[in-house]
Symmetry: C2
Subunit: 285 residues, 2 copies
Amino acid sequence: MGLPMASHLLAAGYQISVFNRTRSRAEPLLEQGAVWAESAAAAADGADVAISMVGYPDDVRATHLGEAGTLAAAYPPQLLVDMTTSRPSLAVHIAREAKRRGVGSLDAPVSGGDVGARNATLSIMVGGVEEHFQRAQQLFEVLGKSVVYQGEAGMGQHTKMVNQVLIATNMIGVCEGLLYARKAGLDPLKVIESVGGGAAGSWSINNLAPRMLRRDFEPGFYVEHFIKDLSIALDEASRMSLALPGLALARQLYEAVNAHGHGRAGTQALLLALEQLNALQLSSD
Amino acid sequence: MGLPMASHLLAAGYQISVFNRTRSRAEPLLEQGAVWAESAAAAADGADVAISMVGYPDDVRATHLGEAGTLAAAYPPQLLVDMTTSRPSLAVHIAREAKRRGVGSLDAPVSGGDVGARNATLSIMVGGVEEHFQRAQQLFEVLGKSVVYQGEAGMGQHTKMVNQVLIATNMIGVCEGLLYARKAGLDPLKVIESVGGGAAGSWSINNLAPRMLRRDFEPGFYVEHFIKDLSIALDEASRMSLALPGLALARQLYEAVNAHGHGRAGTQALLLALEQLNALQLSSD
């Protein structure tokens, strides 16, 4: 997702130094005028804002706090911005380390997926010091259509966790509803026509269910990344002594999807776990 | 819901005989020109179409198959239409009994609640013989904005069950997401602003979550009626050898809402069960 996002910033006139583990994947940006850097630190060196969009919390940690991380090259009034979906507690930790160096930091995870990144229609959920948010707001508005300041460091990540809780639990209902329809002999597309516009309506029933029916499990968002997010959400909930039985069930079912080798399928592949459970297939390939 | 629905039909020029267990509740219709009948049979006597909107499957059975039920007065080419949310197997049974008398029947449950009934914006899901559907289509279009023929007898009810599966499971996610937001120290309304328009979006997060935050548990739809529906859906799923773990969890949580004395609250009162579970309150009264 970093690629189209950086591309939008270049198109908006920002100068960008870019680092990626696989240089070839940054080529389109270099052609667009970005400058190659040999490390996160080198990319951040001299920049007003250092933005990361990586995979897992460990990557976030390495990118900002590692030996060749951004903080190694940071000086005031630089701003570190992590747009990866990552641990709220790590965002708090980075903010603390950054502050010790006189540097600002924001956690600003996004929803909207590949399509949102390409069309600059992301929803961006921001945590950190409000003044730092205001400094970065213009950048965010190049990348997304909804930019909301959610509170102190970590609150952007917590908001993204709520987003994932909602998606995960609703996805169980979408899959179960489709399997019920199939078993009852209904035409699932006609069912969606009846139920998708009312109180049962959701983005997932209207957008992902038709893909499930076509057996299109191409990723908008990887199952394995979703499991990472659900694990973070459950860890955080446990830390806060919060029981979330629906989320726990969703996570178990997603683990089953992964166990069947579909970690690189899209989140709508939850259907495969519920099909396996019921020795049933929703529709033919 | 029968009251506003019958009122729309009167306003559209249809002549109506009406029966209700409590006559006083039918008064507004009598003032509008409806004729009082002393039983379902008397109301149906001589009518082209006999429509029921009652509470539970037992009421549906009594209304159509009981001693003073519609079928006792039915003659071809009358059409019996049940718009209650009820058992698919009962709809099949009524269709069979009606057919033996040369009479048609449709199951045509609705979604959209009180508001949909008042505004004639219901979604109507219809099962039965397609030719009978065509005969009743004009009536349905007075009552709803989405009228979809779903297949043979019982298929309207099955479609409504899918609707309830979707609502119930998603409601778990909505409640858990709000409680997570609360525990994390977020402003839930700002969170909804970030997540309600994207892949996590649903009718419930955008319409019911704000009510939960105001502790407005007024019924659009009663918990006790919802439990009836979820029980029917689980019974039917079991009959079809279909495991629906998300729906089973939802039903258990709704039983807990009922156990706490909130059977006459609205479905958004699921929050109360998850608050109890966590010894937590989302917001003050």
